[in-house]
Amino acid sequence: MRTTILTTTLAAGLLLALTPSAAQANPHHSDSIRYASIKGCADKNGAEFPCGPWRLVMHSGKQTILDDAQGVARKKNGKSGRYYQAPVAVSGNGGRIAYFTKSGRLAVRTVGGGVKVFAKDALPRVDQWKVSFDLSDDGAKLAAVIENAPTRIFDTATGERLGTVPSRAALMGFSGDGDELLTSIEAEESVTDLVVYSDRGRRLARATPPQVIGVNAPQTLAADGRTVAAVVTGSKPELVTYDVEDDRIIDRKKIKLPGGAVHMIDWTGDTQVTLHLTREVSGSTRMTIVQIDTETGAVKVRDRYTPLKDSFVFAACGG
């Protein structure tokens, strides 16, 4: 294990600090978002609901408030959704975050930079919890998944809508370079297909992958728009790569993984897949982030943390 993280309980705020050496080991994460969290409160019946603003926990350990973001979701008519949080998404590199502003507009903020507020009609008028966001690794593109409506893909610099993807294609994420999207479709006869779309919404490839790819969801798409990676966890962990254009397994590599279930999987380099693994330890979630070299199968721990214990829900950076 190269990276050692000192977890220190500070106070009721419960912030976990990264040792300086660990922060320096990841220069591109040194001033970026590790995750966003919204607090959970309980009503008199013990039912939990989100409360307060979205909080950003940085890789440096610093904690800030996303002031202009909607915390608790609003209904279509503007009233409080109470039991739902408004959606956010953090880019893989931790440099950008997508959210609803307090006036209900779609926005993407760059850490240490400005904010792009999208046009009023960028998204249809729906209850905010029926929308979820996904940013590409570099944050240059945003996908807004809307319940029972096509997924909209945007350029986050200009706010321009690039294209749409059919709603029945369940979004799994952008390709490594953000130019394509990987989706899955429940097809006939109980099979699950993988379908690749361009950021303009053009269908590029569709295949019914072999079981080892199909059952080990989520999968992730490389920058080439055709190489899919999936990870088998458990007693015999493996990294499996698959060519969705040729419908062919490329490689199966035995790897050594720390414990946990796959929370996120992303291509973060030409030969690198990054995994977010979560496990529940005495009532709290422990996150371990590892980088897998797709050529050698070598696994390196990039980060470990425990999200704020008072979190109702959190959104980790992907990469």
Binding site: S190, V191, T208, N216
Partner: protein, 315 residues
Amino acid sequence: MRHPSLTAALLASAVIGGLGLTPVAAHAQSAPPVARAAWIKSCKETPCGRWQLVLRDGTTVPVRDAAATKPRSEEPGAFAISANGRVLAYERIGDHRVVVQHAGGGRLRELPKISGDYGLTLSPEGDKLLIDYFDEPERRPSKVITVATGRTTTLPAAETPYGFSADGDEVLTTRRQADNTTAMYARGLEGGTLRQTPPQVVANALTFALAADGKTVAVFTSGDAQTKRPPRVRTYDLETGALSEAADLPFKTEAPPDVAVWDADARLTVTERVGEDGEPTVVRVLTVDPASGAATQSDRYRLTKSRYGAVMAGE
């Protein structure tokens, strides 16, 4: 209801004596009786009364000593009919031992009492009996008993059996592997096993039938009621991993058949049941060509809506 006199005689004595204890009546019939199905009545949503055997000649006779329920349970007692309709296996009233006998009576074997929850499946000819324990996680291995000799073969505990090959020489099983995929096995009872990790469409199917060659599996997938697409059949080769093109089945429902058995002519006998337990139900038995999906009806019968549950021959 009209009966030919001989059948009426069988019915009358069966009502009095029950099957298995009326060899005279059974012998009085020209051909040995063939069972289509058996059902058990529902009383306040629990199984009650006697198992009723639905015979090919249109009559229904009670099986006097078959247990309605498992011990201290509201689950129906185990009951199975061979695909050819000639052999029954069931849980006996009182001591809950499993007995195997001819559909027309005549005891073939009694097995020791089996504890816990389990299911019974007979080979198509009724010469072998599979006992599958429903424990979770799977610790008790399934067993195959040769009825004539009592010889027992134990299957690996991690495998889930789906039934016998057409000639009863193999058992088709599946197993969850370390990589979360499902492997499929044709396990020869005299040794020799074929194994493949099949494609999704095979692994996710619900009804299978292993041919007498011990390697060809008929695979039935669900249709879609919304798009009015019928269920489909394919064949999958456990030796080579080759999968055939799909053929549509001329079914009225989206569900795949509950039962499928290969016959000697490379065709399949499939049983389609239209109607849930508690509803009037029509059962159709079809002979299907798996290459084209072409089917001809070989039998059709009804099951009463007053049943708690039913088992069909080969199920």
